[in-house]
Amino acid sequence: MQQHLPKLIYIERRSRIVSLIPYINILNIALPVLYFGIVFVYGKAFFSDEAWARGIKTKIFVFTVVLHFAYLILRTVEFRHPPVTSIYEMLTVVSFSVAVAYLFIEFRSKAKGTGYFIAIIAFVLQLISSLFIRDLTEVPEALRSNLFGLHVSSAMLGYAAIAISAVFGFLYLMLYHEIKSNRFGVVYQKLPNLETLERMGFTAFKMGFVLLGVAIIAGFVWLPSSGLDFSYLDPKLIGTMLIWLMYGIGILAKRRGDWKGRKVMMLSVWGFGITLVSMVVINLFLSGFHKFD
């Protein structure tokens, strides 16, 4: 025993030296600040067309996304699980997914000029996450399952997709009303055309529907084997199902030609609003499970 003692002390000290918590804490504060900076710079580029803002906006966005990725990795390493076990951990992942998805849009599509609005979503999600996130190291055994991993990752990508769909939907509605009411302001001049906004909004809408569908199916299959105390009448489950059905009805109505651009885009905005309420309110006040901390 005497011989092993120095080694144990060494390991303990070493683990303290390489503690990642200070970095995580710094990034936890820095990320919402950086996202706010992105909103500010993209706003300057969009509304005032300032050259300096146009020059640095994408750089600062890429820099922030890289830091955000590092933050997620650090959390995973330090707390020994991917940050998907509480709503606030999930919010930072959704915020990251939204930011990455937007960067793809900016680099690859014609839908430029939408960054300001998408950055607001990423900022709000990250702000809520940063304010309430807790350092959780103990993860219930129930969550260490492949099905659960599929459930969570598809749910988060689905949420990111419907968030982006909502932004495009919102921009579509703004431009729609501007053209309808003969006003030709910044929105008219800077945004992509109506059809592009509708196409991108609806693509994200469909992706959201499919991914949330996968999440729901994976969740239902996984639940009985999870060992958790649950009920199929849980408000979270019913709420999510209703949202998913609502998106499904929207897709069907659009396909059949019953609903045209504006109605589908309105559904996209409302759907996201309702989803956000479902994520926050139901999780905090109503649901019996879906809280693992």
Partner: protein
């Protein structure tokens, strides 16, 4: 700068007079050489439907405006039709400033007209081609092109549609992703409908259908713009397939009621139907604009958009004036610098002549072995005397152009050096 500009424009003369003074390329090429023989060393002439302007650089500061206007009138045999008071004229910095204003588009009939710059470039090219312009005109016109370029990149003077037909196409581009995948139907073949059809075609509309009560006019327009025609009685059956509808016929009743449009919209899968109603009285029931996904623009709505765009262009004028003022100052800086070197050389020559003359007169008073020393000594004294004024004159290039020119003219007057030598300028 001995620059003279004479011309006629929409500010000074009506279209029928401007037409008489429109110069083709051949006519320009025939006119400019006549100026050379009259002592004008460089000239540029350009002509558009709104203006004809002649810029000449003269060796001596003479105001031969009447000669220049007579030349333009005689070349076009228009002396009996266009009185002299229809012409404007500008001199020196006034002429350069006017040219810059024209190049910037703020002097155009349609504020911010982008065509004028290429028309000036064309006039300058013709002049260069026949050797009528050289060192001066090159600098002046390059400065004008620079003004034109800056104005277009730094301001929004030429942005936003300012004609009904362009406004319609601009709106279509804000609604549809790829015009090439869309189809448009033009009902009627009036002037604005024709222009809108042409603009849609030039912006790549996928399919252009034209219908008119008189089928021949529809066919004529279809041939002109590259579209196809529909029988007037049958166009209703095709409405569900079009994305852009332009109506421009004279009719006491609506061509389409709101219920008609509702039925069309139901049949369509696409979200957006864009209707441009240029008819007076209106061809489309105004209630139609309440229908989801249907955008109806009548002539008043398009005019409102045009007025808004014009106001935005107006707001840019102060910015453009400052660009022009900056460029005029820069040009005169360059012009005054042209006189510095010949003036310094002339002063040196003047003093050297005095020195050489005095040395020659008195050299015999010195012993032969001292004469070389006298040469060296007097030259050294002269160099020392002229060193400071030379440096100051050269540094004077950083002052304003008019200060520099004033100094030079005072020096030339004091030492009786005459006017700046044009020869040296041409050699540069």
């Amino acid at each position: 700068m001995n620059l003279v500009c004479v011309g006629i424009s929409h500010h000074t003369a009506p279209l029928e007079l401007r037409e008489r003074l429109w110069f083709s390329e051949q006519e320009i090429k025939a006119t400019l050489p006549l100026l050379n023989s009259e002592g004008f060393d460089e000239a540029v002439l350009f002509s558009t439907c709104n203006r004809t302007e002649l810029y000449v650089h003269v060796r001596q500061p003479e105001l031969r405006v009447k000669f220049l206007t007579d030349l333009l009138l005689n070349q076009k045999s228009a002396a009996d039709h266009v009185p002299h008071d229809q012409f404007f004229n500008y001199f020196a910095s006034g002429a350069t400033e006017h040219l810059f204003r024209v190049a910037s588009g703020i002097d155009s009939m349609i504020l911010g007209d982008v065509q004028i710059l290429s028309q000036i470039k064309e006039g300058f090219r013709i002049s260069q081609e026949i050797g009528a312009s050289g060192f001066f005109m090159n600098k002046i016109f390059q400065s004008a092109f620079h003004v034109g370029k800056r104005v277009r990149t730094e301001t929004v003077i030429s942005e936003g549609a300012v004609s009904v037909s362009y406004a319609a196409v601009e709106l279509a581009e804000r609604m549809f992703e790829v015009l090439g995948e869309k189809s448009a139907l033009v009902i009627g073949a009036g002037e604005t409908a024709q222009l809108t059809a042409k603009h849609l075609k030039s912006h790549g509309i996928g399919k252009l259908l034209i219908t008119n009560r008189t089928a021949e006019r529809a066919e004529l327009l279809a041939r002109e713009v590259g579209g196809s025609t529909l029988p007037f009685d049958d166009f209703g059956n095709h409405l569900a397939d079009v994305d852009i509808l332009i109506t421009s016929i004279q009719s006491d009743n609506y061509v389409l009621s709101a219920d008609d449009v509702r039925r069309i919209v139901k049949k369509r899968l696409a979200s957006t139907l864009f209707i441009i109603d240029i008819g007076v009285p209106r061809n489309i029931d105004p209630e139609t604009r309440k229908i989801d996904g249907v955008f109806v623009y009548d002539i008043d709505a398009l005019q409102g958009m045009i007025n808004e765009n014009l106001q935005k262009r107006q707001n840019e004028i102060p910015k453009i004036r400052s660009i022009i003022a900056h460029q005029v100052a820069e040009l005169y800086q360059w012009y005054s610098s042209l006189h510095v070197t010949p003036t310094i050389a002339a002063i040196r020559e003047h003093f050297e002549a005095i020195r050489a003359d005095e040395v020659e007169k008195n050299i015999n008073r010195f012993a032969p072995h001292e004469r070389e020393l006298v040469e060296i000594l007097t030259k050294r004294i002269l160099n020392k005397i002229l060193h400071r004024p030379t440096v100051n004159l050269k540094n004077g290039q950083t002052q304003t152009a008019s200060e520099g020119l004033l100094k030079i003219s005072v020096l030339r007057e004091l030492f009786d050096l005459g006017s700046p030598a044009e020869k040296e300028q041409n050699d540069d």
